[in-house]
């Protein structure tokens, strides 16, 4: 159960090796947190990360999970819940950036990336939502992107899949609110992480730990959407209205 400050006792991280996801897990109040399940593609890597997280009072489990295998998502989530009990907070953090030069020319590669980032994340969110609806409470953190506001030409398949997920999560959050389930969309800008290693940072670049702090504060006040850093909200609110020919010349596009 979450306490009055929104601190969870049991957390499911979908995308168990995600830097942002792990930073969120570490940002929760350790005196409340009792169990974390890392669901990830690479279980061996997940186990190494689990060993770092485990303490005397924190149990960490690793479960193999393939985001594109959407037919199995509900069964996978149900199995995790059967072993764990309550899922107070679930973080949908998995995504792949893809090689934009490939995904913008190879139709099958584009569909495969969208299958993970969009279809996989939608299916996982709904599978978790069903479980939380049955327990009458819970928060789902959906890691979106500023692309939810405007997709950058630098990586349209990645951005488009995040934009689709972002819109879905908002609508689904409204649909499931009456069942006691809280969905929070997180819109980070450029985050220094494994996923962006070697890339030139965009303006207002941030870190997983800073994103995590904003997420934990957002859960405490049951926000529907948070931006990381916060300044990106007014920035993208303005950028959304920039005409295409100008947008294409901006460093953020």
């Amino acid at each position: 159960m979450q306490n009055a400050f929104g601190n969870p006792q049991q957390v499911l991280l979908l995308g168990g090796t995600s830097d942002i996801g792990l930073a969120i897990v570490r940002a929760f109040d350790p005196s409340s947190l009792r169990r974390v399940v890392l669901a990830c593609r690479d279980a061996a890597k997940g186990e190494l990360l689990a060993q770092e997280l485990r303490t005397d009072t924190l149990a960490v489990d690793v479960v193999e999970f393939h985001a594109e295998a959407v037919e199995g998502h509900q069964a996978a989530i149900d199995a995790i819940a059967a072993a764990t009990g309550e899922i107070d907070v679930a973080i949908v953090a998995f995504a792949q950036l893809g090689d934009s030069t490939v995904t913008t020319t190879d139709a099958a590669a584009a569909a495969a990336l969208a299958g993970i980032n969009f279809a996989g994340a939608v299916a996982a969110t709904i599978a978790v939502g069903n479980r939380m609806r049955a327990q009458g409470h819970g928060s789902i953190v959906v890691v979106s992107s500023v692309a939810g506001e405007r997709v950058r030409m630098a990586n349209p398949v990645y951005g488009g899949s995040k934009a689709g997920l972002d819109g879905f999560a908002q609508g689904y959050g409204d649909a499931i609110a009456a069942d006691g389930v809280h969905v929070m969309v997180v819109r980070p800008g450029f985050v220094h992480s494994q996923m962006t290693a070697g890339m030139d940072p965009a303006p207002f670049a941030t870190t997983p730990n800073k994103v995590a702090k904003i997420v934990v504060a957002g859960l405490r006040s049951r926000r529907r959407m948070v931006w990381a850093p916060k300044v990106l909200r007014p920035v993208f609110s303005a950028l959304r209205h920039v005409p295409g020919p100008l947008w294409r010349r901006l460093p953020l596009s």
Binding site: A4, S32, Q135
Partner: protein, 462 residues
């Protein structure tokens, strides 16, 4: 049956459950029999602050409609009442007949069932103990649908497991409670304004035994040499002879003056400056020393009930209460807590210190002989979780504990440290409900139903 989002009075931690209003014990038994894997819980008026009266994903039964009249045995000064009845209703029946409830909390809008489940205490704890001490018999609906009559001399293990048992042993359908005979509906009140915490504790230690009721209001925003400045009010039921007009000595008709509208500002109105001004005025307006002032029952016991839905003053994010007790010889912890709270500049509008008398045999009853401090604050206040964590450590290290009816933040570990008789409670409880039909959000958060060491419980699913 409706699907509803429920919270406690603090309006934090909502969860959604199927809610059923029941009108008789047969309905209640049928509802219990039909409860699913998330179990069932009785809910009274929802005045516990945290998640005690919630059962997310399960069934919640409301008993206010449970029919039945108040039966008064004037000779024995006892009343038998349906458990869904409020103290508000009960007082309107018994005060004109010359009786008062044995224990009342700071609000009269609690049910008798809730009063037993939380084993509530009041300003007379040092003299009379908690609510369970005055229950002579009760009817308990068990998980198997049967009804058992129990009392302190009739199945005492189950009785004391139910008292303070947070509704996790069954549904209390009705109870017989001892009443306090009164000559008037007025209180004779002595008030003392005390400049600091030391003088408050000294005044309570020296003088509480001369009064049936005693409580200290503390200004937690005061600093330095004013740290812990307080207003101590103590009193007793006024004898009829003290009233100017004897004929309406037992008249009783408390009114709600205003209700906070649902469109109150979502950010709340109890900001730090507002509370500071209130505290200053409240302290200044209290007389230095005044004796035998006549006050109404509502003014003395239930001042906040004059404002309906006052919890909305804290805004959409709600408020948290914190109440702890530490043993009598650990007044150093009380002092340290007041220092921490004062230094943290948390806007506490209501902070109360009370000196508890002896506890009762219930394993999960909150009061132990010692000092209790209760306070509330906006749950959005910055630094509050860290402050509460620091207080938790102080309290638990001193052999103190938290009050379930108020709590909304602790975890299973704090209960196991604060309530060393938890295992004893679980043994009796599990014997009558091995399938864990009775469940609540509080029970899940604190792992109240899980036996054995906590690390073993980490592996537990459903």
């Amino acid at each position: 049956m409706t699907r509803e989002s429920l919270t406690g009075w603090g309006r934090t931690q909502p969860s959604v459950a199927d809610v059923l209003e029941v009108t008789d014990s047969t309905d209640t038994a049928a509802a219990v029999a039909g409860a699913g894997p998330r179990g069932v819980l009785a809910r009274g008026l929802g005045r516990s602050y945290g998640d005690a009266a919630q059962n997310g994903g399960g069934l919640v039964v409301r008993l206010q409609g449970l029919a039945g009249d108040v039966v008064i045995d004037a000779l024995r000064a006892e009343a038998t009442v349906p458990a869904g009845l409020s103290i508000d209703h009960l007082l309107r029946v018994i005060v004109p007949r010359g009786f008062f409830v044995p224990v009342t909390p700071g609000t009269r809008f609690v049910t008798i069932g809730g009063a037993i489940a939380s084993d509530i205490h009041g300003k007379n704890h040092h003299a009379d103990g908690s609510f369970g001490n005055h229950v002579t018999a009760l009817d308990l609906l068990l998980a198997d649908g049967s009804v058992l009559a129990i009392g302190p001399h009739n199945n005492p293990e189950l009785f004391w497991t139910t008292v303070g048992g947070m509704g996790l042993t069954g549904v209390v359908l009705s109870a017989t409670i001892r009443l306090i005979p009164i000559e008037s509906s007025r209180m004779s009140v002595d008030t003392d304004r005390l400049p600091d915490l030391e003088s408050l504790l000294a005044a309570m230690t020296d003088g509480d035994d001369n009064y049936r009721y005693s409580v200290g209001w503390v200004d937690l925003l005061a600093k330095g040499k004013h740290l812990g400045r307080s207003v101590l009010t103590r009193g007793d039921h006024a004898p009829a002879a003290q009233l100017a007009q004897r004929e309406d000595a037992l008249a009783y008709g408390p009114r709600q003056l205003v209700t906070v509208p649902s469109f109150a500002p979502p950010s709340g109105v109890l900001s730090h400056p507002a509370v500071a001004v209130f505290n200053e005025l409240w302290y200044r307006k209290a007389p230095k020393h005044r004796v035998q002032e006549l006050q109404s029952i509502a003014t003395f016991f239930h001042p906040l009930d004059g404002v309906g839905a006052w919890n909305r003053l804290y805004g959409a994010r709600g408020m948290v209460q914190y109440q702890f007790v530490v043993p009598m010889n650990r007044d150093d912890v009380l002092r340290r807590a007041v220092e921490l709270l004062s230094a943290a500049r948390v806007a506490c509008f209501l902070a109360i210190i009370k000196r508890f008398g002896p506890g009762n045999p219930a394993p999960l009853s909150f009061p132990i002989p010692g000092w209790t401090l209760t306070l509330d604050a906006s749950s959005a206040a910055s630094g509050l979780p860290e402050l509460f964590s620091a207080l938790d450590t102080l309290v638990l290290d001193a052999g103190g504990r938290h009050y379930f009816a108020k709590d909304a933040h602790i975890g299973p570990e704090a209960v196991r440290r604060g309530y060393p008789r938890l295992a004893e409670w679980q043994t009796t409880r599990n014997a009558i409900d091995p399938q864990r039909k009775w469940q609540s959000d509080l029970a899940r958060r604190l792992a109240l139903l899980s036996e054995g060491p906590l690390d073993g419980l980490l592996g537990e699913g459903d």
